[in-house]
Amino acid sequence: MKDRLTEELLAMRAAQEIRPGDYCNVGVGLPQLCASHVPTGAIVQAENGTLGYGPLVGLDNVDEMDLDFIDAGGSFFTTAPGMAFFDILTSFVMIRSGRLKSFLGGLQVSEKGDLAIHSLSSVDKFPQIGGSMDLAWGAKRLIVLMTHNTKDGVSKVVKKLTLPVSARACVDLIITDLAVIEVTSSGLMLKEYAPGWTPHEVQAQTDAQLILANNVKEIEF
């Protein structure tokens, strides 16, 4: 079997979508890995109330850990010049007002850009929605990061969602371990594919119909 992108490479490709001057939110899980690849001049938001914080505390600098400096996923961050603190109400005004590029994980994305991010079973048991529906609705541009297929090989890029919808017609770009796919008004457009793969092979792994971009090419890092 051909190699798919590692999580790290997927995150690196996703981080290319962040431009200097951008404000972005990187969701818990796979998207969080983008944080280490954010270009200078772009600013990351944590929905629990910080903008523009520094690199996360790692095992090599635990002495810099501060109880009151945590990101949305509960990781400790270091300070950075120009960072700002605010309450969660203001944070969700920020998120809802369309000023952030959002990077979210996903379970399924449909041809229309509908996103499923919560499985029915987990929602039924206890709600674990957090701020993801707000982030999906309010994003200036929504980029979904996910593996192309489930562990059982089932496509997550689908004609129609089979899982419960989290937000409709919200996804702008899908980045998987196989492809970069843009959601357009005429359907899903394959723009890039994983090194060593062909568009045809990517389509074979995909439930939804893919339109080939004119300049479709291999993903570069």
Binding site: A46, D66, L67, V123
Partner: protein, 256 residues
């Protein structure tokens, strides 16, 4: 007339059946000291509005720290966008929650962080309801009124006006003006505004004038009672370095 009192004295306001709001997003900014006092108060049938109901990871509870799951036996309803945590919901709380939910004794109302915030804000502002764009066509919208306005779909959300807000701040002056620190600010300011009665736990109480007027985040008018955490308590300002040490140990033990 002074707002300064003990947690026990402050809790006297809480009655059976009250709606309580509190912040939770990790230890920082969550009023753990007041949670313990609310358990001691012994009231029941409470509704809890809380952004997250996340139990502490192993290693903390053993050291005297608490999380909002200790309130579960006193609750009849939880309004929260996030209950549990990836892999760290202790088996005790999980069993407890499932059992209660299954028996219909504990109602759980799903929300999102943004919707919870806007409902609290709407309560503070005296609104009758709002048309909110998030969650249309999802589980969130279940049995809620829908409406299309200028071509966009919305769902009707009702305001939340908690009877008592339990909040945490870094410092208060004796007038109840509050400042926070870092991400500990959280939902505390909006809970203070929305609640009919607000109780705050703080590390320190200072005299009026010691807090820079531009830096005050929650003006004292929103704060009814100020509880200074006693120095000997694990939550106190004095014992924060110790708490930090516990955290570091846990982090190093988990390998990051």
């Amino acid at each position: 007339m002074s707002k300064i009192c003990t947690a026990g004295e402050a809790m006297a306001i809480v009655d059976d059946g009250d709606m309580i709001a509190a912040h939770n997003w990790g230890i920082s900014g969550s009023p753990g000291y007041l949670f313990r006092a609310l358990v001691e108060r012994g009231v029941k049938d409470l509704t809890l509005c809380i952004p997250n109901l996340i139990p502490l990871p192993e290693g903390f509870v053993e050291r005297g720290l608490t999380d909002p799951t200790i309130l579960i036996p006193q609750l009849k309803k939880i309004i929260s966008p996030f209950i549990g945590a990836r892999g760290i919901l202790s088996s005790i709380s999980e069993t407890f929650l499932s059992t209660l939910a299954k028996e219909g004794r504990l109602e759980i109302e799903t929300s999102t962080h943004g919707i919870l915030m806007e409902r609290l804000y709407a309560g503070a502002m005296g609104l009758g309801g709002i048309y909110s764009p998030v969650g249309v066509g999802t589980i969130i919208a279940k049995s809620k009124e829908k409406r299309t306005i200028d071509g966009v779909g919305y769902i009707f959300e009702k305001p939340l006006r908690p009877d008592v807000g339990l909040i945490k701040a870094d410092k208060a002056d004796t007038l109840g003006n509050l400042v926070y620190r870092g991400s500990a600010r959280g939902a505390n300011p909006v809970i203070a505004m929305a609640s009919k009665y607000t109780i705050v736990e703080v590390f320190d109480v200072v005299e009026p004038g010691e807090l820079e007027p531009e830096m005050i985040v929650t003006p004292g008018v929103f704060v009814d009672r100020v509880v200074r955490i006693p120095d000997e308590d694990v939550y106190s300002g004095k014992r924060r370095p110790e708490l930090m040490k516990i955290l570091t140990e846990v982090m190093l033990a988990r390998g990051g």
